[in-house]
């Protein structure tokens, strides 16, 4: 039996505009419509919710909030845009402060029409969202089960935003180790990382098209520099990082006889892994007040 169909928990956010859809959404919970008979609970907390229900058009202020809430919804999650404004900006579309529909900020899975949307339509939207939840859940499960189906291949320009998002998730654990949120990897912008693409080769590890790990490398003379080996926390401890490093080494042309990499002095797991792969420490240097770089090198066998 499907796990998600019977218990869709909703978080509801009103981005702006006339509040009509907002009120209609709450009307779904009244005795007349009683969405709870389908197991719907209005949680008010993204971390408990499965479905993100947004009403109203997105303006400068609500855009950030929508993005924040969206990121705090645990996977699998579905976004439902309720009403004309949420779909496109509606009658507010041309206003000076309006960005447009919800899909200008986060990916939307279900659109519910109407101005204001009828409660019946909203409930119908939730039912459709539940089906999408199931599909997404199966995809994640397949990814988790298909860990042996990992594909290691060069990353393309289109993958860069996803890699940047992954980098920010990944480096959070490092920031915790050093007690420093200002690590450059956490601060990097899309423009900067796209500029990196000119000098660095990117490799990615993906399962069913979802990127779970990445690494970048650059050649200078006879030395191959390997940097930013990142693996999604969910997939750590399964040898992906090690495989990425070996793949990177292999991708360097034969004239490269020496590989160099670096990590922070407190990242014990990284250090241990590099040593296992044959890397040896050859120098350390001051980098940030909180972080010292440990440089490691290895000769090609």
């Amino acid at each position: 039996m499907p796990a998600f169909a019977k218990s869709p928990w909703v978080i509801h956010y009103d981005a702006s505009s006339c509040n009509g859809c907002d009120i209609e959404t709450l009307a779904c919970l009244t005795p007349l419509y009683d969405a709870e008979r389908l197991g719907v609970v209005n949680t008010g907390n993204p971390k408990h919710a499965d479905i993100f229900l947004v009403t109203g058009a997105v303006n400068a202020q609500s855009g950030d909030v929508i993005r924040n809430i969206y990121h705090q919804l645990p996977e699998p999650k579905v976004v439902v845009a309720v009403g004309a404004c949420a779909a496109s900006g509606g009658i507010f579309r041309e206003c000076y402060n309006i960005h447009g529909g919800v899909d200008t900020v986060v990916p939307v899975d279900v659109y519910v029409g109407g101005c204001a949307a009828r409660p019946e339509a909203i409930i119908d939207g939730i039912v459709r969202a539940v089906q999408i939840l199931e599909v997404k859940h199966k995809a994640t499960q397949a990814a988790a089960r298909g860990i042996d189906k990992l594909v290691y291949e060069p990353a393309l320009a289109g993958d860069i935003p996803e890699i940047l998002a992954l980098q920010k998730v990944t480096y959070r654990s490092e920031a915790e180790i050093y007690g420093d949120d200002s690590l450059p990897a956490m601060q990097q912008t899309l423009a900067e990382i796209e500029a990196d693409l000119a000098q660095w080769t990117f490799l990615k590890a993906s399962i069913n098209g979802k990127i779970v790990g990445s690494i970048r490398g650059r050649i200078e003379g006879a030395t191959g520099y390997i940097r930013r080996c990142i693996v999604h926390p969910y997939f750590r401890g399964r040898g992906i990082a090690r495989r990425l490093i070996t793949e990177m080494e292999r991708s360097f042309p034969p004239q490269v006889v020496r590989f160099e990499t670096l990590t922070g002095h407190k990242s014990r797991r990284n250090l241990a892994m590099c040593e296992k792969l044959g890397y040896r420490v050859f120098k350390t240097e001051e980098y940030l007040p909180t972080v010292q770089w440990v440089h490691l090198q290895k000769e090609r066998k």
Partner: protein, 562 residues
């Protein structure tokens, strides 16, 4: 002996005159003059059967003095160096005096626990009072001198009661031995026993005398740890527990029990209202000593068993807490509990030690809780009504300890680790005490069987103990709690780490949020103090009122006995 006593008395008189404290002089003269006159009159007639007393209870007390006192002295070495160089350069460096007094005090404590001759006991008792006075005034500023005199005054009241008790015992039994007193017919010696309990109550800072202990927190932390939590104040409860067989079943005993019980409930409630770590510890000390006094007042074998156990557990855990707070105070330049947020990152090992100490103070299945449990059972079997303050006192205990523990765990933003600044002596003492705290909890049945039960059986012919089944269950719980650190092996698997939910107003990275008009605020959290419902000062005032009423009741008991 007499000469020393007179010399000490004169010193206090001089101090009292110099600082214009007529009350101190008066209290001293009230006890010194009759004592001297009486001793001169009787001369060699004052005899006890054996001047020394060494049983399991003395042994236990001596063990506490030795282990806890020793580690505190070690800790004090580093602490006092830092105290003068880094934190209080304005205070005149009198470390030689400080340490000599510390050791002098420890010697006196050993004297107290091993004396059988009441005159000796009285002498050592007054020595600890004097040491406490000088050490509290160590800073030599107005506040500390004022508090030191308050401590002296209150303790001299106890001293006067003690002196009265000795004369009374001698008149009633013709001996001045502690054992003779205990073994005499209870009806004959209930008066002096009550006076000695009164002395114990002042020494243990029970209501209405608690104010001196709170004031004593101005002293350097090792002093608070040694004198005002683990040893000197224990001398008071030690004496009351010794009196337990006499107090059992008497009206006076009930009054003593009520003093302890009300101290427990009200001091616990008052502790909720403050966020000063040392003050919380002081209130909790008063509360727990109250529990022990309550045991003495009830005086059944179960109660005494629980009381002795409580002495042990409390001494170890509380001392650990004091020492930890001392270290934290030096690092953070504050002893406000609210400032301890993120301690688990800045001083991880220390925060674990603090948590061990706190858990030892109130959590099942650790030591203090076993004691509290036994007290509750003992009380219900004798005077169920006294269960009221215990039950209402343990709820706030839970609250103030837990909110402290929570503050230690909570982390809002990354903090660098500053633990390496802590000296080696401090580490050694802290580690030793943490291990002792853990060990006393684990080896609790052994401690009970070797030290506590033989003593209680020696006095009553039978002893309280934990039923076998319950003991097994406690062990299982202990094992479960001990397993807790193991869970960290699975640290961080299969979870996604995100910022807390802040109404969707999170700002990129870290616990900050965007408020009105686009301003970015850092997250800040602080504990409830329930100031509206149970204001600290108000509760304390009620406590003093209750204490005075009970004191009047005690006086009435004494007058009726005359």
């Amino acid at each position: 002996m007499l000469v020393l006593e007179i010399a000490m008395g004169l010193y206090i008189v001089v101090l009292g005159i110099r600082h214009r404290r007529p009350l101190v002089v008066l209290l001293l003269l009230v006890q010194l003059l009759p004592m001297v006159g009486w001793e001169l009159r009787h001369g060699e007639g004052l005899q006890a059967h054996g001047d020394l007393l060494a049983d399991r209870l003395s042994a236990l007390m001596a063990l506490i003095n030795g282990v806890v006192g020793g580690s505190i002295c070690l800790y004090a070495l580093g602490y006092m160096r830092e105290y003068h160089t880094a934190h209080h350069p304005e205070v005149r460096d009198r470390r030689p005096l400080f340490f000599s007094l510390l050791f002098f005090f420890l010697a006196a404590m050993f004297g107290i626990v091993f004396s059988n001759n009441l005159l000796w006991l009285y002498f050592f008792w007054e020595v600890t009072t004097l040491c406490s006075f000088v050490l509290i005034a160590y800073k030599q500023d107005e506040e500390s001198i004022g508090n030191a005199f308050r401590a002296l005054t209150y303790n001299l009241i106890g001293g006067a009661a003690f002196a009265g008790a000795i004369i009374w015992v001698h008149r009633a039994t013709g001996s001045i031995g502690l054992t003779d007193l205990i073994h005499a017919a209870p009806a004959l010696v209930i008066g002096p026993a009550l006076l000695l309990s009164l002395a114990g109550i002042t020494k243990s800072a029970q209501l209405p005398f608690s104010r001196w202990l709170l004031g004593a927190m101005v002293a350097p932390t090792p002093v608070s740890a040694l004198l005002h939590s683990s040893t000197m104040v224990k001398a008071g409860v030690y004496l009351v527990l010794r009196m337990a067989p006499i107090l059992h079943g008497t009206a006076g005993g009930i009054v003593v029990a009520l003093v302890g019980a009300s101290s427990f409930a009200l001091a616990s409630l008052a502790a909720v209202g403050t966020s000063d770590a040392k003050k919380v510890l002081a209130y909790s000390t008063v509360a727990n000593l109250g529990l022990i006094i309550l045991c003495g007042g009830i005086g059944t074998h179960e109660a005494v068993w629980a009381g002795v156990l409580l002495i042990l557990f409390h001494a170890v855990a509380k001392c650990l807490l004091f020492l930890c707070v001392g270290v934290v105070e030096h690092r953070l330049h504050s002893r406000d509990i609210e400032r301890m947020s993120g301690l688990v990152l800045s001083m991880p090992r220390l925060s674990i030690m603090l948590q061990i100490g706190i858990a030892g103070m109130f959590l099942a299945p650790f030591g203090m809780l076993i004691g509290k449990w036994a007290v509750l059972k003992a009380v219900i079997d004798t005077y169920p009504i006294i269960a009221l303050p215990i039950i209402f006192g343990s709820a706030p205990t839970l609250f103030f300890w837990m909110k402290w523990m929570g503050k230690l765990l909570e982390v809002t933003h990354p903090i660098p680790n500053i633990e390496h600044e802590i000296g080696r002596g401090e580490w050694f003492a802290l580690t030793l005490l943490s291990c002792t705290t853990a060990l006393t909890c684990i080896a609790f049945p052994l401690v009970s069987a070797w030290l506590v039960e033989p003593y209680v059986i020696g006095v009553y012919g039978r002893s309280g103990h934990l039923a076998h089944g319950n003991f097994v269950i406690m062990t299982i719980m202990l094992a479960m709690v001990a397993l807790f650190p193991l869970s960290f092996f699975n640290y961080g698997r299969r979870v996604k780490v995100l910022d807390p939910y802040l109404g969707g107003a999170n700002v990129e990275s870290g616990a900050r949020y965007q408020g009105a008009v686009g301003q970015v605020h850092a997250l800040q959290m602080s504990n409830y103090t329930l100031a509206g419902l149970v204001p600290e000062a108000g509760v304390f005032r009620v406590g003093i009122g209750v204490g005075l009423a009970l004191l009047a009741a005690l006086a009435a008991c004494l007058l009726l006995l005359r």
